[in-house]
Subunit: 280 residues, 4 copies
């Protein structure tokens, strides 16, 4: 039987779950899982419903839902096609490799359409998986020129999401706004600790007993965008910066790939500068 | 506004969520959180709904729900009074102490009505919290006599649940059946590994790299009842049995108190020999 | 057989382990565990040795060790008497309760000599364990007067360490310097994130997916002292500030009591603004 | 400066650390890290020392160590060349892929010399990394014939260790004894729970709240060999067998690759049916 996915985001009100589930029942859609969240502080309602039954034959589902929801409700029906992903990298391989392996074995609910590197060293690995690799160097270019080249290439490959898989250049507001809410970054610290450059160096200097990583949407405030996934690992005094980095890379790739999975399965909804995550 | 809790367990069918949420809407009960689970393999439906609105004024809520659900549906409305708990102990203090401290500070959604020990050594600690302690020794008694004494005392204090907080005597089928689905045990291993006596000794002999604990309902099959909570901790070769025990005690008390919280908040539903846990 | 503990901290040099183990062998002390750390960056050597054999009969052990170590080496032999602890609290009970329960059951390698609260609400609980509780209010006093009263009381009870078990007043440099390297605080965030007041509020506003706690030595830089223990827990969007606080309290008490255990077992050595922890 | 690694395993005695560190000092080898373990129950001593200084010029180091140790002491000096690994697989890719990616990027302290599959489906992936893949089917063969073919191939590629990366055939005692203490398996449960076939099915039937994986040396007792690494993950009632398997695969590959790292860095010593692991 066909699976249908419905995402709703609107102002909170009494009876919303009843209203929606009524409409679904009338369209002979059987609810498999229904997850909701009410942001009481801001009076906002979020809903994710998976149901069985053919939505194609459900003429007017969108307008029937619209009719029982508050004005300005955002409704998405079946957004869950295979998302196209462009991966931006610098020199480190661990996040990219994890993504490409999952892509090769079809365990990623997404289509990697291109890898763009400001260095060329990950070309060989990428091409072993028959994924196009584009080397766009930042050298001898203004940030604007550099970003224009990337932007041009991105428009060509037309990704749904841009994944910064240890891409070590800070993006300009102009670039970020072109791909608003569509750029995902992995930061190698448990944000908001150690914002900015060299977080493992910062962590070592501070003598912390945990390290971590954070996958987040990119906004114009450096490392301040909505957090999607975070994870940490205990360390001790014997970890120098290099050992932190190696241990951290395991966390980074796990966190980033988890964020990609959540996004490609339409489990992430934005709520201001926060995320609502409806886990499987 | 009053909070209402509804638990439903029945055969699965199309439109159950819609049916229930309709009835709630008609009774002017606004859904705050709704969590459902469908056991597809056995065709069973489980629902937990928290709503606001006064159910007292909702005449006929039970029968209106009954009317839209499959035959033999189990419906519980507002079961969530403060549960009465009787704690059975032997000599070890760590689980009992954690429970009594939370009870003293009112962070446990339950009322400890009695502590029964087959040794007397935890009396002083228990009585410091003004909780009645009853010493019922197993010595020089048949198992039947011993259990009759406990049973008599339990009928007197009338608990909703009996918590075996490191009670080291195996209970007979007769005793277990008298308090069916109401006895919670903490076993000091990650079941089904190391069933029976001396799990840390067994774990040490096997050379495992993790230890753990399991809170479960007690049935007549030793250590085979429905599991509620489990947790583990990494260890290494330097752990002798004594060090395992000490480290394990931290897990045991955390796991048991978590199980008690889940049960007293009516978040645990039985599904054959398994549990459905609707976490907060 | 008697257990002897030796702690050494000095400039790094070739052959230090050999030198020390030779001296121990000559004194017929048999090494049970030897843990060392070399801070290569700063050329510093740290050693913790547990050995069997009677050090009392080992005339001259200190001077023999001194003779084979670089100048200015710090040597501690058998520092591990039961440490005296004074606990400072405000209103929250969870850390205090965990400490007092362990103290009652003799599982803490320390002696709680006093609890001092700037509110009186934890008196009843404390006195149930026959521990003296002193109410020293901060109200209608200058910080100086307030701290002088505490300081007076502390000199009277003469603790080895002062544990801030959710003591919510910031201490002055003068007070801190009086008890240098002897004040342990629990901060309710994974430092250096969310320094200062209301870390759970800050965490909620930022939309983090982890919360945590940090036990650290108190220095004059707020929340910047050497970190002893940190731990985190995954959360999601459903955690409001209150739920974060409740979940956080479980981490806080585990982290603080772990730090106390490490300190009372002489497993913590200071290395500038960092700690070396020789775990069991 | 050259790094030297020394592993010692012998009967316990007084002064062993002193004896060894003396010999090292005389050979002008400076101890960087020294980790020891005494199995008190069985009177056995284990030591792992990393030191700097050129052992090549240290004529007689072995015999000098031998002279200060109990009879029958096992001494290994600089065993840590790059280990050759042969990987045996069936159909599942996740463990193999993780190993090959690390191998490609030189982050594995080992040399993958061959992949042998009893199915052919992982050939394409393996060959993308220029690693030879050998398809040795078990079909229409006796177990003896099948194992002889594998054994022949293994003798040809001459691995130090054989890694069963989800190889789903049970090996005969004859085969196991040919490669004694050199075969590493990943079992997809937290052993000793769910020994044998279909552990996720077993776990689902039992209703456990954790799943896990175990890397262990293979002996003739199925799933009973010395455990190297174990890890677990919390699950809930919503996990069907398929979802357990997917979640489990993440644990399996992490656990197996961790075991390989420990072994290739000579951090694992056998102690009867247990392992001593000297972590970095």
């Amino acid at each position: 039987m066909t699976q249908t996915l419905i995402l709703i985001q609107c102002q909170d009100a009494v009876g919303l779950v009843a209203n929606v589930s009524n409409v679904l029942a009338k369209h002979k859609l059987n609810i498999v899982t229904m997850r909701e969240f009410v942001d009481i502080e801001h009076g906002k309602f979020f809903l994710r419903v998976e149901c069985t039954g053919n939505v194609e034959e459900s003429n007017g589902l969108y307008s029937h839902l619209k009719a029982v929801l508050p004005p300005n409700a955002e409704i998405k029906i079946n957004p869950s096609h295979k998302k196209r992903l462009a991966i931006l990298v610098t020199k480190e391989h661990h996040c990219l490799a994890d993504i490409l392996v999952r892509h090769y074995f079809n365990t990623l609910n997404g289509e990697v359409c291109a890898v763009i590197g400001n260095y060329d060293n990950l070309r060989d690995f990428t091409e072993r998986f028959d994924i196009p690799f584009f080397h766009i160097s930042h050298e001898n270019k203004s940030k604007e020129e550099f970003e224009q080249e990337i932007s041009l290439k991105l428009r060509e490959v037309a990704p749904d999401y841009i994944v910064l898989a240890k891409f070590m250049r800070i993006l300009s507001p102009k670039f970020v706004s072109e791909f608003e809410n569509r750029i995902i970054n992995i930061h190698h610290s448990f944000l908001p600790a150690f914002i900015g450059a060299n977080p493992y160096k910062q962590a070592h200097d501070r003598g912390v007993k945990i390290i971590g990583a954070t996958a987040h949407f990119v906004t114009n405030d450096l490392d301040e965008g909505p957090i999607i996934v975070q994870s940490t690992k205990n360390i001790d005094h014997s970890y120098d910066v290099q050992k932190m980095r190696r241990a951290g890379q395991e966390i980074e790739k796990a966190v980033l790939v988890r964020a990609i999975q959540l996004i490609t399965e339409d489990r992430v909804m934005l709520n201001g500068n926060k995320t609502i995550i409806f886990k499987a």
